[in-house]
Amino acid sequence: MIEVKNISKNFGKLKALDNLNLQLNKGECIALIGPNGCGKTTLIKAILGMVLPSGGDIIFDGKNIKDNTEYRANIGYMPQIGRYPENMSIGQVLDMIKGIRNHSQQLDTDLYEQFALAKMLDKKMRTLSGGTTQKVSATLAFLFKPQVLILDEPTAGLDPIASEILKAKIIEAKNNGCLILITSHLLSELEDIVSQIIFMQEGQLILHKNVEDLKTTTGQQTIARSIVHLLKTATV
């Protein structure tokens, strides 16, 4: 579904992405992990067209995303830190995005209802707490029933209840055959969701494996332990 070919991105002298190749398929739920500043967010932003790569191509559904914007209609994106126009209320932001997407199919309002956003439609974005902003981001990401979900630290800042609601929604999307790309530092949170692991370091791909394979080769019970085991034995 998404093919990343020899992607590089330099910010001045810093190599944020270094000749990265990836093949992401439908129905997979992929965890993108790695130390801070390893290029996870840059990779996501490159897929979304927010960062323009210095070299390489990204193919979405057989089409190069260069000079193309329509493919984004199939992506739901939840940013790490959602930044919204401060003077707009929650209701206005939702209306604006609906207006701009010009979506004719029925919307997925599950999260909107479960997070009880209807009660705070008049609240201005600048007055919201980090968690509430994340709820708005999550609602927007799922609203248009996208085939691809890109979630950057989705549960960071959410309270335990909201976090559970979101996780249930992610699993539901996975069962519906969506491609889901999640970055997170909380490996234990990803345990029951993900099917593949991508491990990045300094802009390079270190490992891309199925969770089951990973567990059997390392002989560990959980993802977190397998990763730690790999890092310690330096077999990656």
Binding site: R72, R83, Y84
Partner: protein
């Protein structure tokens, strides 16, 4: 683009600074015409105020607004919206609101107190100046990511065009007075939209004493009618060029 423009325009028109700007222009214009019993004297006062304040307000407000729209742009870019559409919508929204404030503030008293042809010319020139400096604001805010630097660049641009430029031309003229440099001066005057606007209005008013050096040479070289056409064309170029450069840069910007 229309859909994005709707939200941008609504947001700007709610902004109190735009309203204050319109009221300030109105106060200046009404009082200038009220103080002088001769309307053409009042017109010259208004002209000078317009040539100073319209560029300053347009470039400063637009620069700050673009920097504050960073979140708005980021939000839209992750959706299926072309980058050029976002940039064009912002540009149109800002231009339209600056023009609206100018027409309401200064245009109405001009229409009441002066001849229609002169008033219309003033409105056209003021609107063009507003859009030109909005375009320059787009250029200076895309050049640097840092808000303070961007605003600084905008103020420097305004200072240069509004105050320094005519002085520089005059200085050059006195230094090279022995040589035939009229043609060069005409060419130089094209390099400042504010000078061009002044020439446009004064060619219409026919007060040669106020033309300034560049204006006098302009009139000699082109005569009134050609002078008008050429300066209008040059002013449009001042809108297209900075905006086009900023648009190209915005397409390649990392957000």
């Amino acid at each position: 683009m229309i859909r994005i423009l709707k939200y941008v325009a609504l947001d700007i028109l709610k902004n109190k600074i735009i309203i204050a700007y319109a009221i300030m222009l109105a106060l200046f214009s009404w009082s200038s015409f009220g103080l002088e019993d001769n309307a053409s004297k009042g017109l010259l006062t208004v002209l000078n105020i317009v040539l100073l304040t319209v560029p300053l307000m347009s470039i400063l407000f637009a620069t700050i607004y673009i920097y504050n729209s960073g979140e708005f742009i980021e939000l839209l870019v992750s959706h299926p919206v072309k980058r050029s559409k976002i940039w064009k919508a912002l540009f149109t929204g800002l231009s339209v609101s600056m023009i609206a404030a100018y027409v309401i503030g200064a245009g109405i008293p001009l229409l009441i107190f002066t001849n229609w042809d002169i008033a219309l010319m003033m409105i056209a020139v003021g609107s063009l100046l507003s859009v030109i400096f909005v375009a320059l604001a787009f250029l200076s805010s895309i050049i640097t990511r840092d808000k303070a630097k961007g605003i600084g660049t905008s103020i420097m641009l305004w200072l240069y065009f509004a105050l320094l430029f005519d002085g520089l031309v005059l200085f050059l003229f006195f230094q090279f007075a022995d040589y035939p440099i009229e043609k060069v001066i005409v060419f130089l005057s094209a390099l400042s939209p504010i000078d061009l606007s002044r020439i446009l209005i004064l060619l219409r008013l026919d007060v040669s004493a106020m033309l300034g050096y560049t204006g006098a040479v302009f009139k000699n070289s082109f005569g009134s009618d050609w002078g008008l056409v050429v300066s209008f064309l040059l002013l449009s170029l001042w809108i297209l060029l900075p905006f086009y450069i900023s648009l190209r840069k915005f397409r390649k910007k990392d957000l």
